[in-house]
Protein backbone atom coordinates (compact mmCIF):
# COMPACT_ATOMS: atom_id res chain seq x y z
CA UNK A 1 0.00 0.00 0.00
CA UNK A 2 1.33 3.40 -0.95
CA UNK A 3 1.68 6.18 1.60
CA UNK A 4 -1.15 8.59 0.89
CA UNK A 5 0.28 11.09 3.37
CA UNK A 6 3.72 10.91 1.76
CA UNK A 7 2.28 11.45 -1.70
CA UNK A 8 0.19 14.38 -0.52
CA UNK A 9 3.22 15.97 1.13
CA UNK A 10 5.31 15.47 -2.01
CA UNK A 11 2.52 16.86 -4.16
CA UNK A 12 2.30 20.12 -2.22
CA UNK A 13 5.76 20.12 -0.64
CA UNK A 14 6.25 23.87 -1.09
CA UNK A 15 3.21 24.70 0.99
CA UNK A 16 4.09 21.99 3.45
CA UNK A 17 7.70 23.10 3.89
CA UNK A 18 6.76 26.78 4.26
CA UNK A 19 4.19 25.84 6.88
CA UNK A 20 6.81 23.65 8.57
CA UNK A 21 9.30 26.52 8.59
CA UNK A 22 6.73 28.78 10.25
CA UNK A 23 6.00 26.17 12.86
CA UNK A 24 9.73 25.44 13.16
CA UNK A 25 10.55 29.01 14.12
CA UNK A 26 8.01 28.72 16.91
CA UNK A 27 9.54 25.42 18.00
CA UNK A 28 12.96 27.10 17.81
CA UNK A 29 11.77 29.73 20.28
CA UNK A 30 10.48 26.95 22.53
CA UNK A 31 13.80 25.09 22.40
CA UNK A 32 15.63 28.35 23.07
CA UNK A 33 13.51 28.99 26.15
CA UNK A 34 14.44 25.56 27.46
CA UNK A 35 18.06 26.36 26.55
CA UNK A 36 17.91 29.62 28.49
CA UNK A 37 16.78 27.73 31.59
CA UNK A 38 19.50 25.12 31.11
CA UNK A 39 22.00 27.94 30.64
CA UNK A 40 20.96 29.49 33.94
CA UNK A 41 21.42 26.19 35.75
CA UNK A 42 24.74 25.66 34.00
CA UNK A 43 25.87 29.17 34.89
CA UNK A 44 25.09 28.41 38.53
CA UNK A 45 27.04 25.16 38.39
CA UNK A 46 29.92 26.85 36.56
CA UNK A 47 30.03 29.45 39.33
CA UNK A 48 30.33 26.73 41.96
CA UNK A 49 32.85 24.72 39.92
CA UNK A 50 35.02 27.76 39.26
CA UNK A 51 35.13 28.77 42.91
CA UNK A 52 37.02 25.56 43.66
CA UNK A 53 35.41 25.40 47.11
CA UNK A 54 33.94 22.55 49.11
CA UNK A 55 32.42 24.87 51.69
CA UNK A 56 31.13 28.45 51.64
CA UNK A 57 31.38 30.20 55.02
CA UNK A 58 29.09 33.22 55.19
CA UNK A 59 27.41 35.56 57.63
CA UNK A 60 25.08 33.84 60.07
CA UNK A 61 21.40 33.60 59.04
CA UNK A 62 22.14 34.51 55.44
CA UNK A 63 22.18 32.47 52.26
CA UNK A 64 25.14 34.39 50.81
CA UNK A 65 27.30 35.18 49.08
CA UNK A 66 25.41 34.70 45.76
CA UNK A 67 21.74 34.67 46.77
CA UNK A 68 21.93 37.20 49.62
CA UNK A 69 24.42 39.77 50.83
CA UNK A 70 26.87 38.50 53.43
CA UNK A 71 29.55 40.30 55.38
CA UNK A 72 32.31 38.72 57.46
CA UNK A 73 35.41 40.03 59.10
CA UNK A 74 38.44 39.07 57.03
CA UNK A 75 40.23 37.48 60.01
CA UNK A 76 37.58 34.76 60.22
CA UNK A 77 39.61 32.86 57.63
CA UNK A 78 42.38 32.23 60.18
CA UNK A 79 40.11 30.49 62.62
CA UNK A 80 38.62 28.43 59.81
CA UNK A 81 42.07 27.39 58.66
CA UNK A 82 42.69 26.00 62.12
CA UNK A 83 39.80 23.57 61.95
CA UNK A 84 40.53 19.87 61.43
CA UNK A 85 40.02 18.68 57.84
CA UNK A 86 40.56 22.12 56.24
CA UNK A 87 43.29 22.23 53.58
CA UNK A 88 42.88 25.74 52.29
CA UNK A 89 40.62 28.67 53.02
CA UNK A 90 40.52 32.14 51.49
CA UNK A 91 38.53 35.34 51.64
CA UNK A 92 36.50 36.41 48.62
CA UNK A 93 34.30 39.34 47.75
CA UNK A 94 31.62 39.52 45.08
CA UNK A 95 30.18 42.73 43.74
CA UNK A 96 28.03 43.10 40.64
CA UNK A 97 28.43 46.50 39.01
CA UNK A 98 28.88 48.34 35.73
CA UNK A 99 32.50 48.24 34.55
CA UNK A 100 33.60 50.87 32.07
CA UNK A 101 36.44 50.68 29.58
CA UNK A 102 38.63 53.70 30.08
CA UNK A 103 41.40 52.87 27.61
CA UNK A 104 40.91 50.17 25.00
CA UNK A 105 43.35 48.02 23.08
CA UNK A 106 40.87 45.70 21.42
CA UNK A 107 37.68 46.03 19.38
CA UNK A 108 35.61 47.49 22.19
CA UNK A 109 35.54 51.28 22.25
CA UNK A 110 36.42 53.44 25.21
CA UNK A 111 33.43 54.28 27.36
CA UNK A 112 31.88 50.86 26.66
CA UNK A 113 30.20 49.54 29.79
CA UNK A 114 29.49 45.99 30.73
CA UNK A 115 27.67 44.55 33.72
CA UNK A 116 30.08 42.27 35.49
CA UNK A 117 30.62 40.52 38.78
CA UNK A 118 33.79 41.83 40.40
CA UNK A 119 35.51 39.04 42.33
CA UNK A 120 38.14 39.88 44.89
CA UNK A 121 40.44 36.92 45.52
CA UNK A 122 43.81 36.02 46.93
CA UNK A 123 46.21 34.66 44.29
CA UNK A 124 46.89 30.95 44.64
CA UNK A 125 43.86 30.44 46.88
CA UNK A 126 40.31 29.16 46.28
CA UNK A 127 38.37 31.72 44.24
CA UNK A 128 41.18 32.27 41.76
CA UNK A 129 40.19 31.76 38.08
CA UNK A 130 41.05 28.17 37.23
CA UNK A 131 42.48 28.63 33.77
CA UNK A 132 43.18 31.41 31.32
CA UNK A 133 42.59 31.46 27.59
CA UNK A 134 45.02 34.36 27.11
CA UNK A 135 47.49 36.43 29.12
CA UNK A 136 48.66 35.67 32.64
CA UNK A 137 47.44 35.54 36.21
CA UNK A 138 47.54 38.58 38.45
CA UNK A 139 51.05 39.02 39.88
CA UNK A 140 50.88 42.54 41.33
CA UNK A 141 49.09 43.41 44.53
CA UNK A 142 47.00 46.16 42.95
CA UNK A 143 45.32 47.36 39.78
CA UNK A 144 45.54 44.25 37.64
CA UNK A 145 42.51 42.30 36.48
CA UNK A 146 41.57 39.06 34.76
CA UNK A 147 38.34 39.34 32.75
CA UNK A 148 35.99 36.81 31.21
CA UNK A 149 36.00 36.99 27.40
CA UNK A 150 32.27 37.77 27.43
CA UNK A 151 33.02 41.18 28.89
CA UNK A 152 34.46 42.02 25.49
CA UNK A 153 37.64 43.37 27.07
CA UNK A 154 41.03 42.57 25.56
CA UNK A 155 44.49 42.15 27.03
CA UNK A 156 46.00 45.50 27.83
CA UNK A 157 42.62 47.26 28.19
CA UNK A 158 42.30 49.67 31.10
CA UNK A 159 38.99 49.30 32.91
CA UNK A 160 37.45 51.54 35.54
CA UNK A 161 36.23 49.98 38.79
CA UNK A 162 35.05 52.60 41.28
CA UNK A 163 37.92 55.02 41.79
CA UNK A 164 40.75 53.15 40.08
CA UNK A 165 41.78 51.92 36.65
CA UNK A 166 42.86 48.28 36.26
CA UNK A 167 44.87 46.71 33.46
CA UNK A 168 43.47 43.51 31.98
CA UNK A 169 46.38 41.05 32.11
CA UNK A 170 44.50 37.78 31.53
CA UNK A 171 41.34 36.45 29.89
CA UNK A 172 39.29 33.55 31.09
CA UNK A 173 36.19 31.76 29.78
CA UNK A 174 32.81 30.57 31.20
CA UNK A 175 33.44 32.48 34.41
CA UNK A 176 30.01 33.93 35.04
CA UNK A 177 27.79 34.80 37.95
CA UNK A 178 24.60 32.90 38.65
CA UNK A 179 22.83 35.64 36.74
CA UNK A 180 25.06 35.06 33.72
CA UNK A 181 27.12 38.25 34.15
CA UNK A 182 30.78 37.74 33.19
CA UNK A 183 33.33 37.97 35.99
CA UNK A 184 36.24 40.35 36.44
CA UNK A 185 38.85 39.17 38.96
CA UNK A 186 40.90 41.71 40.91
CA UNK A 187 43.10 41.45 44.04
CA UNK A 188 41.16 41.07 47.29
CA UNK A 189 42.36 44.32 48.86
CA UNK A 190 41.29 46.30 45.81
CA UNK A 191 37.94 44.53 45.77
CA UNK A 192 37.37 45.25 49.47
CA UNK A 193 38.08 48.88 48.82
CA UNK A 194 35.80 48.92 45.79
CA UNK A 195 33.00 47.34 47.78
CA UNK A 196 33.30 48.90 51.21
CA UNK A 197 35.36 52.10 51.00
CA UNK A 198 33.37 55.31 50.82
CA UNK A 199 34.17 58.17 48.47
CA UNK A 200 36.42 61.05 49.64
CA UNK A 201 33.58 63.44 50.36
CA UNK A 202 31.79 60.89 52.52
CA UNK A 203 35.03 60.17 54.42
CA UNK A 204 35.61 63.87 55.06
CA UNK A 205 32.03 64.30 56.29
CA UNK A 206 32.34 61.28 58.57
CA UNK A 207 35.56 62.57 60.01
CA UNK A 208 33.98 65.98 60.69
CA UNK A 209 30.98 64.32 62.36
CA UNK A 210 33.20 62.15 64.52
CA UNK A 211 35.38 65.15 65.50
CA UNK A 212 32.25 67.07 66.45
CA UNK A 213 31.05 64.28 68.71
CA UNK A 214 32.30 65.05 72.26
CA UNK A 215 31.99 61.42 73.25
CA UNK A 216 34.51 60.41 70.57
CA UNK A 217 36.74 63.49 70.70
CA UNK A 218 37.57 63.83 74.39
CA UNK A 219 40.11 66.48 75.25
CA UNK A 220 41.69 64.31 77.89
CA UNK A 221 42.22 61.24 75.67
CA UNK A 222 44.91 61.95 73.08
CA UNK A 223 44.87 59.67 69.99
CA UNK A 224 41.29 58.47 70.50
CA UNK A 225 39.83 60.51 67.65
CA UNK A 226 42.55 59.39 65.21
CA UNK A 227 42.03 55.76 66.20
CA UNK A 228 38.29 55.98 65.66
CA UNK A 229 38.71 57.72 62.29
CA UNK A 230 41.24 55.12 61.15
CA UNK A 231 38.82 52.40 62.16
CA UNK A 232 36.01 54.02 60.20
CA UNK A 233 38.06 54.18 57.02
CA UNK A 234 39.52 50.67 57.27
CA UNK A 235 38.09 47.74 55.18
CA UNK A 236 38.14 44.45 57.01
CA UNK A 237 35.07 42.84 55.56
CA UNK A 238 34.66 40.13 52.96
CA UNK A 239 31.57 38.36 51.62
CA UNK A 240 32.57 34.76 52.19
CA UNK A 241 35.36 32.40 53.02
CA UNK A 242 35.89 29.61 50.50
CA UNK A 243 37.10 26.41 52.10
CA UNK A 244 38.70 23.32 50.60
CA UNK A 245 38.59 20.23 52.79
CA UNK A 246 41.00 17.35 52.86
CA UNK A 247 40.14 14.53 50.39
CA UNK A 248 38.04 11.90 52.14
CA UNK A 249 36.78 14.29 54.79
CA UNK A 250 33.04 14.97 54.52
CA UNK A 251 32.42 18.68 54.01
CA UNK A 252 29.49 18.51 56.43
CA UNK A 253 31.81 17.40 59.25
CA UNK A 254 33.76 20.64 58.80
CA UNK A 255 30.64 22.75 58.32
CA UNK A 256 29.04 21.60 61.55
CA UNK A 257 31.63 23.05 64.01
CA UNK A 258 31.76 26.29 61.98
CA UNK A 259 27.99 26.70 62.46
CA UNK A 260 28.11 25.71 66.12
CA UNK A 261 31.21 27.47 67.43
CA UNK A 262 32.02 30.27 65.02
CA UNK A 263 28.52 31.77 64.84
CA UNK A 264 28.67 31.65 61.08
CA UNK A 265 26.78 29.83 58.34
CA UNK A 266 28.55 27.18 56.27
CA UNK A 267 27.14 25.61 53.12
CA UNK A 268 28.33 22.48 51.38
CA UNK A 269 28.42 22.20 47.61
CA UNK A 270 25.05 20.40 47.50
CA UNK A 271 23.44 23.02 49.75
CA UNK A 272 24.87 25.88 47.72
CA UNK A 273 23.62 24.25 44.51
CA UNK A 274 20.20 23.98 46.11
CA UNK A 275 20.27 27.69 46.95
CA UNK A 276 21.38 28.70 43.47
CA UNK A 277 19.18 26.39 41.40
CA UNK A 278 16.09 25.87 43.53
CA UNK A 279 15.87 29.33 45.10
CA UNK A 280 17.83 31.95 43.18
CA UNK A 281 16.55 31.04 39.72
CA UNK A 282 13.27 29.49 40.83
CA UNK A 283 11.14 32.44 39.75
CA UNK A 284 12.91 32.67 36.40
CA UNK A 285 12.43 28.92 35.95
CA UNK A 286 8.71 29.23 36.63
CA UNK A 287 8.54 32.14 34.22
CA UNK A 288 10.21 30.07 31.52
CA UNK A 289 8.02 27.06 32.29
CA UNK A 290 4.96 29.28 31.83
CA UNK A 291 6.35 30.43 28.49
CA UNK A 292 6.95 26.84 27.46
CA UNK A 293 3.38 25.87 28.31
CA UNK A 294 2.00 28.83 26.34
CA UNK A 295 4.26 28.07 23.37
CA UNK A 296 3.23 24.41 23.46
CA UNK A 297 -0.45 25.39 23.45
CA UNK A 298 0.10 27.89 20.62
CA UNK A 299 2.05 25.27 18.62
CA UNK A 300 -0.71 22.72 19.16
CA UNK A 301 -3.35 25.23 18.08
CA UNK A 302 -1.37 26.17 14.95
CA UNK A 303 -0.80 22.53 13.96
CA UNK A 304 -4.46 21.75 14.62
CA UNK A 305 -5.67 24.66 12.50
CA UNK A 306 -3.24 23.91 9.68
CA UNK A 307 -4.09 20.21 9.52
CA UNK A 308 -7.79 20.95 9.93
CA UNK A 309 -7.69 23.48 7.08
CA UNK A 310 -5.69 21.12 4.88
CA UNK A 311 -8.23 18.36 5.59
CA UNK A 312 -11.19 20.60 4.81
CA UNK A 313 -9.53 21.33 1.47
CA UNK A 314 -9.63 17.61 0.69
CA UNK A 315 -13.19 16.83 1.75
CA UNK A 316 -14.23 15.77 -1.75
CA UNK A 317 -11.20 13.51 -2.16
CA UNK A 318 -11.87 11.99 1.25
CA UNK A 319 -15.50 11.37 0.28
CA UNK A 320 -14.30 9.64 -2.90
CA UNK A 321 -11.76 7.60 -0.94
CA UNK A 322 -14.47 6.48 1.46
CA UNK A 323 -16.88 5.73 -1.35
CA UNK A 324 -14.40 3.49 -3.13
CA UNK A 325 -13.83 1.54 0.04
CA UNK A 326 -10.92 3.15 1.85
CA UNK A 327 -11.01 2.24 5.51
CA UNK A 328 -11.29 4.96 8.14
CA UNK A 329 -8.00 3.96 9.68
CA UNK A 330 -6.19 4.60 6.38
CA UNK A 331 -7.73 8.07 6.13
CA UNK A 332 -7.02 8.78 9.80
CA UNK A 333 -3.49 7.45 9.31
CA UNK A 334 -2.98 9.79 6.35
CA UNK A 335 -3.97 12.84 8.41
CA UNK A 336 -1.96 11.68 11.43
CA UNK A 337 1.15 11.08 9.30
CA UNK A 338 0.80 14.52 7.74
CA UNK A 339 0.55 16.11 11.17
CA UNK A 340 3.61 14.16 12.34
CA UNK A 341 5.43 15.07 9.12
CA UNK A 342 4.65 18.72 9.71
CA UNK A 343 5.88 18.36 13.28
CA UNK A 344 9.08 16.67 12.13
CA UNK A 345 9.84 19.38 9.57
CA UNK A 346 9.02 21.99 12.20
CA UNK A 347 11.26 20.33 14.76
CA UNK A 348 14.22 20.07 12.36
CA UNK A 349 13.81 23.73 11.36
CA UNK A 350 13.39 24.72 15.00
CA UNK A 351 16.46 22.78 16.14
CA UNK A 352 18.62 24.27 13.39
CA UNK A 353 17.27 27.77 14.07
CA UNK A 354 17.83 27.47 17.83
CA UNK A 355 21.37 26.17 17.26
CA UNK A 356 22.13 29.07 14.93
CA UNK A 357 20.75 31.84 17.08
CA UNK A 358 21.76 30.49 20.51
CA UNK A 359 25.27 32.07 20.42
CA UNK A 360 23.76 35.48 19.66
CA UNK A 361 21.91 35.56 22.98
CA UNK A 362 23.60 37.78 25.57
CA UNK A 363 23.28 35.04 28.19
CA UNK A 364 24.39 31.46 27.87
CA UNK A 365 21.86 29.22 26.05
CA UNK A 366 22.56 25.54 26.61
CA UNK A 367 20.80 23.27 24.09
CA UNK A 368 21.04 19.81 25.59
CA UNK A 369 20.54 16.70 23.39
CA UNK A 370 18.21 15.32 26.06
CA UNK A 371 16.00 18.39 25.78
CA UNK A 372 16.00 18.00 21.99
CA UNK A 373 14.82 14.39 22.31
CA UNK A 374 12.16 15.39 24.83
CA UNK A 375 11.20 18.31 22.58
CA UNK A 376 10.83 16.00 19.59
CA UNK A 377 8.63 13.64 21.60
CA UNK A 378 6.52 16.57 22.81
CA UNK A 379 6.18 17.97 19.28
CA UNK A 380 5.11 14.57 17.94
CA UNK A 381 2.62 14.16 20.77
CA UNK A 382 1.23 17.66 20.27
CA UNK A 383 0.92 17.07 16.51
CA UNK A 384 -0.80 13.73 17.09
CA UNK A 385 -3.26 15.34 19.50
CA UNK A 386 -3.76 18.33 17.20
CA UNK A 387 -4.58 16.03 14.28
CA UNK A 388 -7.56 14.54 16.12
CA UNK A 389 -9.67 17.58 15.21
CA UNK A 390 -9.00 17.02 11.50
CA UNK A 391 -9.40 13.24 11.80
CA UNK A 392 -12.76 13.78 13.44
CA UNK A 393 -13.83 16.02 10.55
CA UNK A 394 -12.58 13.53 7.97
CA UNK A 395 -14.34 10.57 9.57
CA UNK A 396 -17.59 12.54 9.57
CA UNK A 397 -17.44 12.98 5.79
CA UNK A 398 -20.30 11.16 4.17
CA UNK A 399 -19.17 9.00 1.23
CA UNK A 400 -22.49 9.88 -0.38
CA UNK A 401 -21.12 13.42 -0.78
CA UNK A 402 -19.08 12.10 -3.71
CA UNK A 403 -22.30 11.29 -5.55
CA UNK A 404 -24.23 14.30 -6.79
CA UNK A 405 -27.79 15.22 -5.86
Amino acid sequence: MISLAGRDILHSWGKFVLTGIGLGLLIGVTLSMAGIYRGMVDDAQALLDNSGADLWVVQQDTQGPYAESSSLRDDVVRSVLGLPGVVRAANVTYLTMQVRLSQGQGKVREGHEVRAMIVGFEPGQPGEPGYLVAGRHITRSHYEAVADVRTGFALGDRIRIRRHDYTVVGLTQRMVSSGGDPMVFIPLKDAQEAQFLKDNDAILNDRARTAANPALNRPGVPGLLEAIQASQAANHNVNAVLVQVRPGVPAESVAEPIRRWKHLEAYTRAQMEEILVAKLIATSARQIAMFLVILAVVSAAIVAFIIYTMTLGKIREIAVLKLIGTRNRIIAGMILQQALGLGLIGFIVGKVAATLWAPIFPKYVLLEPGDAVRGLAAVMLICALASTLAIRAALKVDPAAAIGG
Binding site: G325, T326, P399
Partner: protein, 235 residues
Protein backbone atom coordinates in the same frame (compact mmCIF):
# COMPACT_ATOMS: atom_id res chain seq x y z
CA UNK B 1 -34.85 -14.74 -17.15
CA UNK B 2 -31.41 -13.16 -17.53
CA UNK B 3 -28.66 -13.66 -14.96
CA UNK B 4 -28.85 -10.18 -13.57
CA UNK B 5 -25.83 -8.00 -13.09
CA UNK B 6 -28.22 -5.69 -11.29
CA UNK B 7 -31.70 -6.63 -10.14
CA UNK B 8 -33.84 -4.27 -8.09
CA UNK B 9 -37.27 -5.19 -6.88
CA UNK B 10 -39.76 -2.94 -5.14
CA UNK B 11 -37.09 -0.64 -3.77
CA UNK B 12 -38.32 2.15 -1.52
CA UNK B 13 -36.55 4.91 0.32
CA UNK B 14 -38.17 7.28 2.80
CA UNK B 15 -36.38 10.27 4.31
CA UNK B 16 -37.59 11.53 7.67
CA UNK B 17 -40.54 10.44 9.73
CA UNK B 18 -44.15 11.36 10.41
CA UNK B 19 -45.59 14.41 8.70
CA UNK B 20 -42.23 15.49 7.33
CA UNK B 21 -41.43 12.14 5.73
CA UNK B 22 -40.54 12.19 2.02
CA UNK B 23 -40.71 9.12 -0.14
CA UNK B 24 -37.81 9.59 -2.54
CA UNK B 25 -38.17 6.09 -4.01
CA UNK B 26 -41.62 4.50 -4.04
CA UNK B 27 -41.35 1.47 -6.24
CA UNK B 28 -38.16 1.00 -8.18
CA UNK B 29 -37.69 -2.08 -10.32
CA UNK B 30 -34.73 -2.54 -12.63
CA UNK B 31 -32.80 -5.30 -14.30
CA UNK B 32 -29.46 -4.77 -16.00
CA UNK B 33 -27.74 -7.74 -17.57
CA UNK B 34 -23.99 -8.31 -17.37
CA UNK B 35 -22.36 -6.50 -20.29
CA UNK B 36 -25.30 -4.16 -20.69
CA UNK B 37 -25.32 -0.38 -20.43
CA UNK B 38 -28.66 1.19 -19.55
CA UNK B 39 -29.60 4.79 -19.16
CA UNK B 40 -31.37 6.19 -16.13
CA UNK B 41 -33.03 9.50 -16.82
CA UNK B 42 -35.46 11.68 -15.02
CA UNK B 43 -36.06 15.24 -13.93
CA UNK B 44 -34.35 16.82 -10.97
CA UNK B 45 -35.71 15.55 -7.69
CA UNK B 46 -37.11 12.41 -9.27
CA UNK B 47 -34.88 10.15 -7.13
CA UNK B 48 -31.95 9.36 -9.46
CA UNK B 49 -29.26 10.25 -6.95
CA UNK B 50 -31.10 8.49 -4.13
CA UNK B 51 -31.27 5.35 -6.25
CA UNK B 52 -27.54 5.58 -7.03
CA UNK B 53 -26.73 6.04 -3.34
CA UNK B 54 -28.83 3.00 -2.45
CA UNK B 55 -27.17 0.95 -5.18
CA UNK B 56 -23.78 2.28 -4.08
CA UNK B 57 -24.49 1.07 -0.54
CA UNK B 58 -23.93 4.50 0.96
CA UNK B 59 -27.49 4.99 2.19
CA UNK B 60 -29.86 2.30 3.36
CA UNK B 61 -33.15 1.79 1.52
CA UNK B 62 -36.36 1.54 3.51
CA UNK B 63 -37.58 -1.64 1.85
CA UNK B 64 -37.18 -3.80 -1.24
CA UNK B 65 -34.48 -6.00 -2.66
CA UNK B 66 -31.19 -5.38 -4.46
CA UNK B 67 -29.04 -8.01 -6.10
CA UNK B 68 -25.65 -7.08 -7.50
CA UNK B 69 -23.67 -9.61 -9.49
CA UNK B 70 -25.95 -12.39 -8.38
CA UNK B 71 -25.47 -11.54 -4.70
CA UNK B 72 -28.37 -10.20 -2.66
CA UNK B 73 -26.98 -7.18 -0.89
CA UNK B 74 -30.26 -5.85 0.44
CA UNK B 75 -33.48 -7.63 1.26
CA UNK B 76 -35.43 -5.45 3.69
CA UNK B 77 -32.07 -4.97 5.39
CA UNK B 78 -28.42 -5.18 4.48
CA UNK B 79 -27.23 -8.69 3.75
CA UNK B 80 -23.57 -7.75 3.55
CA UNK B 81 -21.71 -7.02 6.79
CA UNK B 82 -18.91 -4.99 5.22
CA UNK B 83 -20.41 -2.40 2.89
CA UNK B 84 -17.05 -0.71 2.47
CA UNK B 85 -15.54 -3.89 1.03
CA UNK B 86 -18.64 -4.31 -1.14
CA UNK B 87 -18.14 -0.84 -2.63
CA UNK B 88 -14.44 -1.51 -3.11
CA UNK B 89 -14.73 -4.94 -4.74
CA UNK B 90 -18.14 -5.11 -6.41
CA UNK B 91 -19.13 -1.59 -7.45
CA UNK B 92 -17.32 0.81 -9.71
CA UNK B 93 -18.11 4.51 -9.57
CA UNK B 94 -17.77 7.09 -12.34
CA UNK B 95 -18.68 10.60 -11.30
CA UNK B 96 -19.78 13.73 -13.09
CA UNK B 97 -16.38 15.23 -12.36
CA UNK B 98 -13.57 12.69 -12.41
CA UNK B 99 -12.61 13.32 -8.75
CA UNK B 100 -9.17 11.86 -9.17
CA UNK B 101 -6.93 12.04 -6.14
CA UNK B 102 -4.77 15.08 -6.98
CA UNK B 103 -1.67 13.91 -5.12
CA UNK B 104 -1.47 10.51 -6.86
CA UNK B 105 -0.28 10.06 -10.41
CA UNK B 106 -2.56 8.50 -13.01
CA UNK B 107 -1.33 4.95 -12.43
CA UNK B 108 -1.69 5.11 -8.66
CA UNK B 109 -5.12 6.71 -8.94
CA UNK B 110 -6.22 3.55 -10.69
CA UNK B 111 -4.03 1.14 -8.72
CA UNK B 112 -5.23 2.46 -5.39
CA UNK B 113 -8.33 0.26 -5.36
CA UNK B 114 -6.56 -3.07 -5.78
CA UNK B 115 -3.99 -1.87 -3.27
CA UNK B 116 -6.80 -1.14 -0.81
CA UNK B 117 -8.06 -4.66 -1.50
CA UNK B 118 -4.67 -6.00 -0.42
CA UNK B 119 -3.05 -6.61 -3.81
CA UNK B 120 0.71 -6.12 -4.00
CA UNK B 121 1.69 -2.71 -5.38
CA UNK B 122 3.41 -4.13 -8.46
CA UNK B 123 0.43 -6.28 -9.40
CA UNK B 124 -1.99 -3.41 -8.80
CA UNK B 125 0.05 -1.06 -10.97
CA UNK B 126 0.38 -3.64 -13.74
CA UNK B 127 -3.36 -4.08 -13.80
CA UNK B 128 -3.87 -0.31 -13.77
CA UNK B 129 -1.46 0.15 -16.66
CA UNK B 130 -3.21 -2.55 -18.67
CA UNK B 131 -6.54 -0.76 -18.27
CA UNK B 132 -5.08 2.67 -18.96
CA UNK B 133 -3.57 1.33 -22.16
CA UNK B 134 -6.90 -0.22 -23.13
CA UNK B 135 -8.54 3.16 -22.55
CA UNK B 136 -5.88 4.90 -24.65
CA UNK B 137 -4.35 6.88 -21.77
CA UNK B 138 -1.42 4.53 -21.10
CA UNK B 139 0.98 7.21 -22.34
CA UNK B 140 -0.16 9.50 -19.47
CA UNK B 141 0.45 6.87 -16.81
CA UNK B 142 3.01 8.97 -14.90
CA UNK B 143 1.21 12.28 -15.31
CA UNK B 144 -0.53 14.08 -12.49
CA UNK B 145 -4.33 14.42 -12.81
CA UNK B 146 -4.00 18.19 -13.18
CA UNK B 147 -1.95 17.63 -16.34
CA UNK B 148 -4.74 15.74 -18.12
CA UNK B 149 -7.55 17.03 -20.29
CA UNK B 150 -11.15 16.56 -19.15
CA UNK B 151 -11.63 13.58 -21.47
CA UNK B 152 -8.43 11.92 -20.30
CA UNK B 153 -9.40 12.43 -16.68
CA UNK B 154 -12.76 10.80 -17.32
CA UNK B 155 -11.05 7.80 -18.95
CA UNK B 156 -8.81 7.46 -15.94
CA UNK B 157 -11.84 7.52 -13.69
CA UNK B 158 -13.41 4.79 -15.83
CA UNK B 159 -10.23 2.76 -15.48
CA UNK B 160 -10.43 3.26 -11.70
CA UNK B 161 -14.03 2.05 -11.71
CA UNK B 162 -13.07 -1.06 -13.69
CA UNK B 163 -9.80 -1.99 -12.08
CA UNK B 164 -11.20 -4.37 -9.48
CA UNK B 165 -13.39 -5.99 -12.20
CA UNK B 166 -16.63 -5.17 -10.39
CA UNK B 167 -19.84 -6.73 -11.72
CA UNK B 168 -21.52 -3.30 -11.52
CA UNK B 169 -20.56 0.24 -12.49
CA UNK B 170 -22.63 3.23 -11.49
CA UNK B 171 -21.95 6.28 -13.63
CA UNK B 172 -23.36 9.59 -12.44
CA UNK B 173 -23.57 12.08 -15.31
CA UNK B 174 -20.18 10.97 -16.67
CA UNK B 175 -20.38 13.13 -19.80
CA UNK B 176 -21.73 16.33 -18.27
CA UNK B 177 -18.48 18.32 -18.43
CA UNK B 178 -17.52 17.02 -21.91
CA UNK B 179 -18.28 18.25 -25.40
CA UNK B 180 -20.32 16.08 -27.82
CA UNK B 181 -17.39 14.31 -29.37
CA UNK B 182 -15.73 13.42 -26.10
CA UNK B 183 -19.06 12.50 -24.51
CA UNK B 184 -19.70 9.94 -27.22
CA UNK B 185 -16.18 8.59 -26.83
CA UNK B 186 -16.83 8.02 -23.13
CA UNK B 187 -20.09 6.21 -23.86
CA UNK B 188 -18.36 4.07 -26.45
CA UNK B 189 -15.69 3.16 -23.94
CA UNK B 190 -18.32 2.27 -21.34
CA UNK B 191 -20.04 0.02 -23.86
CA UNK B 192 -16.75 -1.63 -24.83
CA UNK B 193 -15.79 -2.21 -21.23
CA UNK B 194 -19.23 -3.55 -20.36
CA UNK B 195 -18.91 -6.07 -23.17
CA UNK B 196 -15.28 -6.92 -22.47
CA UNK B 197 -15.63 -7.34 -18.70
CA UNK B 198 -19.31 -8.41 -18.54
CA UNK B 199 -20.07 -5.47 -16.35
CA UNK B 200 -23.57 -4.14 -15.80
CA UNK B 201 -23.50 -0.36 -16.13
CA UNK B 202 -26.12 2.18 -15.15
CA UNK B 203 -25.54 5.64 -16.57
CA UNK B 204 -27.48 8.45 -14.92
CA UNK B 205 -27.69 11.28 -17.40
CA UNK B 206 -29.46 14.38 -18.60
CA UNK B 207 -27.24 14.53 -21.66
CA UNK B 208 -29.40 14.55 -24.78
CA UNK B 209 -26.35 13.69 -26.90
CA UNK B 210 -25.88 10.27 -25.37
CA UNK B 211 -29.46 9.22 -24.58
CA UNK B 212 -29.98 7.81 -28.11
CA UNK B 213 -27.05 5.46 -27.63
CA UNK B 214 -28.79 3.33 -24.96
CA UNK B 215 -30.68 0.22 -26.00
CA UNK B 216 -32.74 0.37 -22.83
CA UNK B 217 -33.66 3.33 -20.72
CA UNK B 218 -35.26 3.61 -17.33
CA UNK B 219 -37.26 6.71 -16.65
CA UNK B 220 -37.66 7.63 -13.06
CA UNK B 221 -40.56 9.84 -12.12
CA UNK B 222 -41.80 10.55 -8.62
CA UNK B 223 -39.75 7.69 -7.27
CA UNK B 224 -41.02 5.07 -9.72
CA UNK B 225 -39.22 3.56 -12.68
CA UNK B 226 -40.58 2.87 -16.10
CA UNK B 227 -38.62 0.94 -18.68
CA UNK B 228 -38.59 1.86 -22.33
CA UNK B 229 -36.62 0.78 -25.34
CA UNK B 230 -33.89 3.12 -26.49
CA UNK B 231 -32.60 3.79 -29.95
CA UNK B 232 -29.34 1.96 -29.37
CA UNK B 233 -27.44 4.01 -31.90
CA UNK B 234 -24.24 2.31 -32.88
CA UNK B 235 -21.25 4.47 -31.98
Amino acid sequence: MIEAGIRIEGLRKRYGQGDTAVDALKDVNMVVAPGEVVGLIGPSGSGKSTLLKCLGAVIEPTAGRMILGGQAIYDDGWKIPDLRALRRDSIGFVFQAPYLIPFLDVTDNVALLPMLAGRPNAEARARALELLTALDVGHRAKAQPSELSGGEQQRVSIARALVNRPPVILADEPTAPLDSERALVVVRILNQMATQYHTAIIVVTHDEKIIPTFKRIYHIRDGRTEEEAGQGLIL
